[in-house]
Symmetry: C2
Subunit: 308 residues, 2 copies
């Protein structure tokens, strides 16, 4: 069983409060860390959870509004101070480099590690990261400035060896790897044992979609179709739907409608305007459209593999 | 009695921790607020103390190392969100404008209020702010990049009316203002009453000097001579004096020596490297040179008028 969870480091929209940090999330897929967004104070929230900063090699920035990136330079500086050597890969619109460079210029700072800037486009969904087990694609969102969400998807897993069948058919050890890859077994006497007899179905692959900031945008539905866990911003209550439209944000009901239409298994809502001291107002609104909704509470881990 | 205090909002050097924010201080002189430095997270610390952000009209940035200014843009954005109208005056080296402008450019942001950038030089002490009661001058510091401290000085106060003498000499009300300004009283029959007979000595004027970041620098001594409260960085213990020299920072003993040589009444030390979990190590080092020293504890108000 692989690990696949999301730690909410902040759920505030524009103005942070004592209990609500600006947006940031840490995705942990089998102990590989991916940081999404990095609002002011993110490095402190990471310390609070005893996350080793140097284990973060990939940072995804959705867009260049301050509440989504103003903690990045501070985090990078602390990584530097701690003697980081490994490359840091930053996925963002191309302008992030200019912002970081001007800071380094005036602070006369150099970094002890290289940065690899991966420019993401907000026009179409594209694959921006891939390893053996996971791929990350962008989700073009509809916001005031270029903005992308991120879809984390486990690749299809290989079939699992059935230990009893391996024993029953007397399969030698050297043949196991090929069977794992789906091949039939052929013995020295040319007898064939079908792969299905030797293996069990593979474990399911899970997916997580991060969609913030965005107005209600049905174009994202085919991209996030059947996602296991969907984070969708819900800055406003329906009562402030006009304000949501004007500022290119979503209401809780709109977030829930996207979850419903995309057949998501579960929805978490966040990026709350601080005009709502009681978030149940937003939760109940979303639940009336899509029952399996939860608040993206700061400090909470969401297990992507658990649909409850 | 006027109010003159300093609220410590952060005392960490480069890497912040859960309990030590990056540098920021709020100087309150008779309910007029002056913010010095604005490290990441400062707006949260201000909220913690229920400080009304819109009452801050003057922000002094010592230098462009991230731990002294990376909270500024977030604070400015929250001020904007809260509908600020009043001008914000930022005192810093000229490059701060470029940093803020590039952020506004890529976030396509506009501010609801004007910014007045006052460029400070780090070559000589100069008067950068003055009103009826207070003046603020720069203190050229010795750091890796241009860096200035700030000296807050109450102007000499007027003599105080002696109510009993006013009664005894039958002074009419209309003459009081001139007497407050130091004039003698001349009656309608040309009798003169000397000002000294009608007034008491003025209350003392107090001063606060903020010196961070800096290597040991005796040139600042004449500028901060006889200061009531001196904040001097003490990033390191004497054990790491080499590191202090290399990074243009001070040890606790050096901070204390500056306090002693400038005849300060009281010293507070801060900007601590997080290699020292127990700050008493630094406090004791400073006290061995200058007894009246205290730790600049986060969340503490220091009364500039109280030398204990």
């Amino acid at each position: 069983m692989t690990k696949f969870n999301v730690l909410i480091l902040g759920n505030a929209s524009a103005a942070p409060s004592l209990t609500r940090n600006h947006t940031s999330q840490l995705v942990n897929i089998n102990e590989q860390y991916f940081l999404i967004d990095c609002g002011e104070g993110t490095q402190i929230r990471l310390r609070e959870h005893k996350i080793k900063l140097q284990r973060i090699n990939h940072i995804f920035i959705s867009h260049l509004h301050g509440d989504h990136y103003l903690g990045l330079i501070g985090l990078m500086q602390t990584m530097n101070l701690l003697g980081r050597v490994n490359e840091l890969i930053i996925y963002c619109s191309e302008n992030i480099k200019e912002i970081i460079d001007i800071h380094l210029k005036y602070s006369r700072g150099t970094l002890s590690y290289p940065i690899n800037y991966v420019t993401v486009s907000s026009n179409q969904s594209e694959l921006i990261f891939e390893n053996e087990k996971v791929e990350v694609s962008t989700i073009p969102l509809k916001h005031k400035i270029p903005c992308t969400g991120f879809l984390f998807k486990e690749k299809p897993k290989s079939r699992r060896i059935n230990p009893k069948a391996i024993q029953d058919y007397n399969i030698p050890k050297h043949a196991i790897n090929k069977i794992k890859l789906g091949e039939d077994y052929e013995s020295e006497t040319y007898e064939i044992v079908k792969n299905e007899l030797l293996t069990q179905d593979s474990l399911p692959s899970f997916s997580y979609a991060f969609c913030s900031d965005t107005a209600y945008e049905e174009k994202i539905i085919p991209i996030i179709k059947d996602v296991d866990l969907l984070y969708h911003e819900s800055t406003f209550h329906e009562e402030h739907a006009d304000r949501a439209k004007k500022t290119f944000h979503s209401t809780a009901a709109q977030a829930a409608l996207i979850a419903k239409k995309s057949n998501a298994k579960r929805l978490i809502i966040g990026h709350f305007s601080n005009r709502y001291p009681d978030l149940n107002l937003l939760l109940n609104e979303a639940k009336s459209v899509f029952e399996n909704t939860r608040i993206a509470e700061q400090g909470i881990f969401f297990d992507v593999q658990n649909s409850q």
